[in-house]
């Protein structure tokens, strides 16, 4: 009971901080909008053929990458929020939480829920751009998208926490951004069909959790014909990944 309240407080704190941070709200919209504009227009012609080869002939490139852009938003926000643990350590606030009479798992869980809720909010904001891209989503699809986006967020936030727990400095975080988050994004199929990659890279795309996230988003938004796997399969893999990461995060928190 007490630990649940701790989860709630840690979750609430992340939301309060998010609400105050207007800069993040703006940049969360600006980045996807920029991607959609640049890639949607300029590069569309060059890549259109590839998209058609995947079987989704009638879809424009902008709508093809739109689920990918949402995946990108979820990825960046999740990791960023999780890595605020490193900030908390640097500013000493983490000590305040670590000496509190609460189980360490509640810190990890609270942080994971907080980060993924913020990511979900950001994802929904980007989703609101859909009508401007000529993408029509049924009400049912929208309802189904919310839990899916939350599942993706929670698996990515837990992954972020696993990285952040052991990280001492912000410089280390910068390295993670370059060597983990960017490749996760590029090799997720967010911007181009994975089938257009050379086979040796497919090993990497197969172990990339975001691949399944983007695939599921795309299947839901554009129709199953554009997805590589059935929705149920994507959701299952994402759930397994989320559970493993969550356990790992709790384990690491317990040891510090």
């Amino acid at each position: 009971m007490h630990n649940l309240r701790a989860v709630y407080s840690i979750w609430l704190r992340d939301l309060i901080r998010y609400r105050r941070d207007k800069y993040r709200l703006i940049s969360s919209l600006a980045q996807p909008a920029l991607f959609l504009f640049v890639f949607g227009n300029g590069l569309a012609r060059g890549l259109a053929i590839d998209v058609q080869r995947t079987g989704g002939g009638q879809e424009s490139y902008v709508s093809f990458i739109f689920p990918g852009i949402i995946g990108m938003t979820l990825l960046f926000t999740s990791v960023f929020t999780a890595v605020s643990i490193v900030w908390d350590r640097e500013f000493g606030f983490l000590k305040e939480v670590m000496v509190a009479p609460i189980s360490r798992w509640s810190i990890a869980v609270g942080k994971a829920l907080g980060g993924s809720t913020v990511a979900l909010i950001q994802g929904v904001i980007v989703l609101l751009l859909a009508p401007f891209l000529g993408l029509k989503l049924s009400f049912l699809t929208l309802i189904a998208l919310i839990p899916l986006m939350y599942l993706i967020s929670i698996s990515l936030t837990s992954m972020g926490i696993v990285i952040a727990v052991k990280m001492e400095t912000m410089e280390g975080f910068q390295m993670v951004l370059n060597f983990l988050v960017m490749p996760l994004f590029v090799l997720s199929g967010a911007m181009f069909p994975l089938s257009s990659l050379p086979p040796w890279l497919s090993v990497l795309t197969r172990v990339n959790p975001l691949s399944y996230g983007v695939d599921a988003l795309r299947g839901l938004m554009l129709g199953p014909s554009l997805a590589e796997f059935p929705l149920g399969f994507d959701v299952m893999l994402l759930s397994i990944f989320a559970v493993i990461m969550m356990f790992f995060a709790v384990f690491l928190f317990n040891r510090t």
């Binding site: 309240r5 407080s9 704190r13 941070d21 500013f91 606030f93 000590k95 305040e96 000496v99 009479p101």
Partner: protein
């Protein structure tokens, strides 16, 4: 209430704590006094379960700090030496968060928060973002937070460093009052003499070891009587002359001569006559804990006048 048995803590080559052993009784105000790097904060971190000792054992309220860490944490409150607030939250939100994770019931929370905020005179600023606070205000808020959940054992790591005297007095009043009402045990480290005098017992710690542990009065009685400080035109000559005519030990500290005598008043006249070089100033006082430290280690701790490192630390705090 706190039992510490032969604790060691090493960081690579650095031996931060080298065999510390003591007991703190329930309801006691127990002080740690020692120079920078003595191992005070490291000991506190071990007792509040933030770090594990390399060897040795410690228990608090009957719980082992390694094996029953969670039970230990539910018995303590702590004001850290370094800043530990969420600067993006308001003062009130920081305390609300604290109350929630420390399990202060909702009905009590509001009253407690207003009590402690009024005590540190931050009630008017309760809805301001902490980032906009001055260093001293942040410190006051941290103290308010540490006192808010009425812990059984309260750790205060240099709680009032950089605060003005009025604020320090008010905080001490609150702490003494709290102890009387709730019978809490207080463990503190400090660099201020008057604060150390508030303690029931004091452990003097140097280089990771406790070199003496007793009541302030007993500690001071180790210094043989009164302390005379004088400066002369040639301290070396003066020290020689004092040794020859009175056969007592005199030390030079910060270009001043320091000596201890059983009966200060009676000795002053004799002293003045025995020195041939001119005397610039002379003073007599009761011994302080600093004198005790000097006696035990041959070095000063520099608490009353802040040493360069301390004022630097205070500045660092203020800036954050």
């Amino acid at each position: 209430m706190i039992e510490v048995r032969d604790i060691y803590k090493t960081y690579g080559d650095i031996e931060a704590v080298r065999g510390v052993d003591f007991t703190v009784h329930a309801g006691e105000i127990f002080g740690f006094l020692g120079p920078n790097g003595a191992g005070k904060t490291t000991t506190i971190n071990i007792l509040c379960t933030l770090i594990k000792p390399t060897s040795g054992s410690a228990s608090l309220a009957g719980y082992n700090v390694v094996d029953d860490a969670e039970k230990v944490r539910s018995s303590i409150g702590i004001v850290f030496q370094d800043p530990s607030l969420d600067e993006r939250l308001t003062a009130h939100e920081n305390l609300e968060f604290h109350g929630m994770i420390y399990g202060v019931p909702k009905v009590d929370r509001r009253g407690r928060i207003s009590n402690v905020l009024k005590m540190v005179e931050l009630w008017d600023r309760r809805d301001d973002i902490v980032k906009t606070f001055s260093g001293g205000m942040k410190r006051r808020l941290e103290i308010a937070r540490g006192l808010m959940h009425n812990p059984r054992v309260l750790f205060l790591d240099e709680p009032t460093l950089g605060l003005d005297p009025q604020t320090r007095n008010r905080i001490w009043e609150y702490i003494r009052d709290l102890r009387q009402r709730e019978n809490i045990t207080i463990f503190l480290t400090t660099h201020y003499m008057d604060e150390a005098e508030n303690c029931d017992r004091i452990a003097i710690i140097d280089n990771g070891k406790i070199i003496s542990l007793d009541t302030p009065a007993k500690l001071k009685s180790m210094v043989g009587g009164d302390v005379i400080t004088l400066s002369t035109s040639d301290n070396k000559v003066a020290i020689e002359e004092i040794k020859k005519s009175h056969s007592i030990e005199a030390l030079e500290q910060d270009s001043k001569i320091v000596l201890e005598v059983p009966d200060g008043e009676g000795f002053l006249a004799k002293l003045v006559h025995s020195i041939s070089v001119s005397i610039d100033s002379i003073s007599l006082r009761r011994p302080t804990l600093d004198d005790v430290f000097l006696k035990l280690t041959g070095r000063t701790m520099r608490e009353e006048t802040m040493g360069p490192l301390d004022s630097f630390k205070a500045q660092v705090r203020m800036r954050r």
